[in-house]
Symmetry: C3
C-alpha cells in the first residue's frame, strides 16, 4: 500500500495480495482517522460479501474467487469500541460483465485498487444497537 | 433521521421505515441546501426504480419488495422550480447477490442507511428541457 | 458539455452524443486538472467496457448498444505520460434493470450525464508497470 495526502484527501494504492478492509483499517489506525468516506476501483481475486436479512437478523455470506473488476466501492470510516470501523459496500463484475454485490467483509486485490478517501477533522462514533446487535451511526449534534 | 455536520459535509443516518428521497429532500429544505452530491449505503425493503427509454421518451418503472443491500447510491442536489431536487441512481443486491439498478424514485430503509453528503456554497439550478420534458442541469458560468 | 466550478468541485453536464471519457479528458486538459476524482449518473446509448484477466494479463472487451442507465460511475484523474489520464469504472442498467459493469473504455451519452468532479491542487502521477504494462498510481510522499 502506498498513499499520498492532499489536504483532507488520501489517494491510496493497494497492491496485489493486499486485503482492502484490513489495509484501510491499518491506515486509519496509523493516521488516527476516525471519520471519513471513500470510493474506489480496481480488481480483486477473492472477496467475501454479505446480505443482511432483517427477518432472521443476520447476514448470509458468499465467498467469491475469480478475477473481478471492482465496479463500485463506497464506504465510510467511523470509530466503534475505540477503534477505526470501516463500513463498505461493493459491486463486482466478472468476465461476463455480470455484477454481484453487497456488504463487503473483505476482498483481496489482484492487480491494483485505487481509493480516494476524504478524512473528517472529527471522529464519527458508532454505538451497538440493542435490538439488531449492529453498530449504528451515533449522530448527536445537528440531528433530529 | 439523524445527522452530523462537519464543515461542508453532512453525515446522515436514516432509520427503518424512512424514505430515502423524501427524507433527504426534507433535510435540504430545512437547511436550504440547493447544491451538492452524496453517496450512501445500507439496506432497503422496498424500492421503485426506473429506466429511461429515449425512443418513447419515458420511464418504465419497477417496484421491488424484498430485503436489499444498497450496493451503491449516488445522487446530486439541485434546485428545480424553487425547491430542492434530488437526482439519484441506485444499485440493489438481493439475497443471491444479484444486482438490479436504475434511477431511484424512492426506497424505504429496512435497517439503516448511511449517507455522506457534500454541500455546495451555491445553488445549482435545473431548467425544464422542452424536447424531453426532463429537468436538466442549468450550468452557465464556466461552461462552453 | 457545460460546467460550473465551485471551489475545487466541477459540476459537469454532458449532453446526448458526447463521449464521457473523451469529454472529461478534454476538460482536464483545458483546465490543467492533473489530479481528482468524480462520480456520475445519467444515461448512455453505447458503451465499451472491459474486464481484466490477471492470468492472460489482458482485457476482454464488450460493446453494448442499448438504452442504459448509468447505475454508478466513479473514476479518478491522474497524469500519465504528461497527459490527463482518466480511470473509471461503470455499472449500466438495462430495461430489465439487470446490471452489467466493468472498466469503462468509453460511453456515449444518450440523454444526459451529470458528474461531480473534485479537483486536487496537485497532480497525481502514473508510471508504467513493467510486469503488467498497466499504468499504476505513482504515490511517493506519505506512502509506505
Amino acid at each position: 500500500m502506498k498513499y499520498f495526502v492532499l489536504g483532507s484527501t488520501y489517494i491510496v494504492r493497494l497492491d496485489a495480495g493486499e486485503k482492502i478492509i484490513e489495509t484501510l483499517k491499518a491506515l486509519c489506525e496509523r493516521d488516527a482517522i476516525g471519520g471519513g468516506f471513500f470510493n474506489g476501483l480496481g480488481a480483486v481475486g477473492e472477496a467475501e460479501i454479505g446480505h443482511f436479512d432483517p427477518e432472521s437478523n443476520g447476514y448470509s455470506w458468499v465467498r467469491l474467487s475469480d478475477p473481478y473488476e471492482i465496479v463500485s466501492l463506497y464506504g465510510n470510516i467511523t470509530v466503534a469500541d475505540g477503534k477505526p470501523f470501516i463500513h463498505a459496500h461493493i459491486a463486482l463484475g466478472d468476465n461476463t460483465f455480470a455484477v454481484r454485490g453487497g456488504h463487503l467483509k473483505e476482498a483481496v486485490v489482484s492487480v491494483t485498487c485505487e481509493v480516494t478517501l476524504t478524512r473528517f477533522r472529527d471522529d464519527i462514533g458508532r454505538t451497538k444497537d440493542g435490538a439488531s446487535g449492529l453498530w449504528k451511526l451515533a449522530l448527536d449534534p445537528g440531528g433530529d
